[in-house]
């Protein structure tokens, strides 16, 4: 248990620490030399149009590396509704941990087509813009624009000490989280994927008889309308909550490989058999847009500092991901196969509702 469960689980997350420390060094440098405030200055005009502030660009930029420091960076936004909206939308942008998932789907089903990864980033940006426009018009986010008065610090050469300290503070809070929330979650998943009710009572069993497989089988019904209702994909989406790159590893284990490369090329043929192009793309979209990994969820909880807003953020992200994947899969099926059913009609209704929410007057 210690080796398989804890070391591989927490290790996978801690493996990100060196990269994150590098990222934090450069971000601390950009902040300390006074450039970040200039980015906010330039981007404000664009971001204000969809209910964010110029300062929202910084969390989103950091979010391409990792959502956790991205969400933490939203702290600099004074206006309450701008900040909440930034926290909700930051993790829509694909972070570094989502790249293996994109690589897996692009490689296995789309023959490595370049547009898959590109479209993932554009889908993330579109999700931020659409969410901003929709949320801006809802009641809790209404209210007048707050003043955007901000000092632009003079450019200067930062001291090494302040850069290192800022890097270490952020890095350490991430390591602490890996030791608590993520540790507990990995132990649970390891236990649930290795134990279950086998032929001779409760005990260690193969993964396809485990508790996790039962849970996966149970929730997979939810994902049938999205085109990927097999239990392996559902379990992969679940374990993706621990860390998004887990999706690749989980699919590898569930398809019978002990270890897979980062882009999972051992299981490409199995995936290509299980998924159609549409269901694979819907799977990708759902995993990119739904609630982020536990580390980022923890960061959302801390920054929101209110259970109500925390659950709203998670619920909104999952509902948004579900609706987008559902519409893409159902409408895609209509155009490629020409089949029209109740679900297709429902997808049309949802799309119409979505466009209405986007276009309605404030």
């Amino acid at each position: 248990m210690i080796i398989d469960g804890i070391v591989s689980g927490v290790g996978a997350v801690l493996g990100f620490v060196p990269q994150m420390l590098m990222l934090f060094i450069f971000l601390a440098f950009l902040e300390a030399c006074g450039y970040m405030a200039r980015i906010a200055f330039i981007m404000d005009r664009i971001f204000r149009r969809f209910g964010l502030s110029g300062k929202s660009f910084i969390p989103i930029l950091i979010g391409t590396g990792c959502g956790v420091p991205g969400i933490m960076a939203s702290r600099t936004i004074e206006n309450d509704s701008n900040r909440k909206m930034t926290i909700i939308t930051t993790t829509f942008i694909p972070c570094a941990a989502k790249l293996p998932v994109i690589a897996l789907i692009a490689g296995a089903v789309f023959g490595g087509a370049a547009w898959v990864a590109t479209s993932a980033y554009f889908a993330g940006i579109a999700a931020i813009v659409c969410s901003g426009i929709i949320l801006k018009k809802t009641k809790p986010f209404a209210g007048g624009a707050a003043p955007f008065l901000m000092e632009l610090p003079a450019y200067h050469w930062p001291t090494a000490q302040s850069v290192i300290r800022s890097m270490w503070e952020r890095g350490w809070s991430f390591i602490k989280k890996a030791g608590t929330v993520i540790l507990a979650a990995t132990i649970f998943v390891w236990f649930a994927s290795n134990f279950g009710f086998g032929d001779d009572g409760f005990g260690m069993v193969d993964m396809d008889k485990s508790i996790l497989a039962k849970i996966g089988g149970f929730i997979s019904a939810l994902f049938i309308p999205l085109g990927w209702g097999n239990w392996q994909a559902s379990v992969a989406a679940l374990t993706g909550l621990i860390a998004k790159e887990n999706v690749v590893g989980t699919l590898g284990i569930l398809y019978g490989f002990a270890e897979v490369a980062e882009d999972g090329n051992e299981i490409w043929s199995r995936l290509a058999a299980e998924f159609t192009a549409l269901s694979a793309y819907s799977f990708l979209l759902f995993n990119l847009l739904c609630a982020p990994c536990f580390a980022a969820i923890g960061a959302i909880k801390r920054e929101m500092n209110s259970p109500k807003w925390f659950w709203f953020a998670i619920g909104y992200q999952c509902a948004f991901a579900y609706i987008v994947s559902f519409c893409v899969y159902q409408l895609g099926t209509l155009f490629t196969a020409g089949s029209f059913g109740v679900q297709t009609a429902f997808a049309f209704a949802l799309s119409a509702g979505f466009i209405f929410m986007l276009a309605r007057k404030h």
């Binding site: 200055f41 330039i42 404000d44 005009r45 624009a145 003043p147 955007f148 901000m150 000092e151 632009l152």
Partner: protein, 73 residues
């Protein structure tokens, strides 16, 4: 009466009156823009909205909607 919003980049003006109310007015005054102080308009952002000014020896950025409230001469 001229407002700060219409002031051309590169010119220096003096604050006559600060309009607005409540938190917005307070925030403007907190940042050092008070009656009689000199403001040098540095530039306007590439997309045309927030503007950059020098006030009391430091650089400050504010949106044109806020600059509208500041009367200058």
């Amino acid at each position: 009466m001229q407002v700060l919003k219409e002031t051309r980049p590169g010119s220096t003006v003096r604050v006559v009156k600060i309009g607005g109310a409540g938190p917005i007015k307070r925030r403007i005054m907190e940042m050092g823009i008070t009656k009689g102080v000199k403001i040098h308009v540095q530039k306007v952002a590439p997309f045309g909205d927030p503007m950059e000014i020098t006030v009391r020896g430091y650089e400050l950025t504010l949106r044109k909607s806020d600059a509208q409230l500041i009367e200058v001469e």
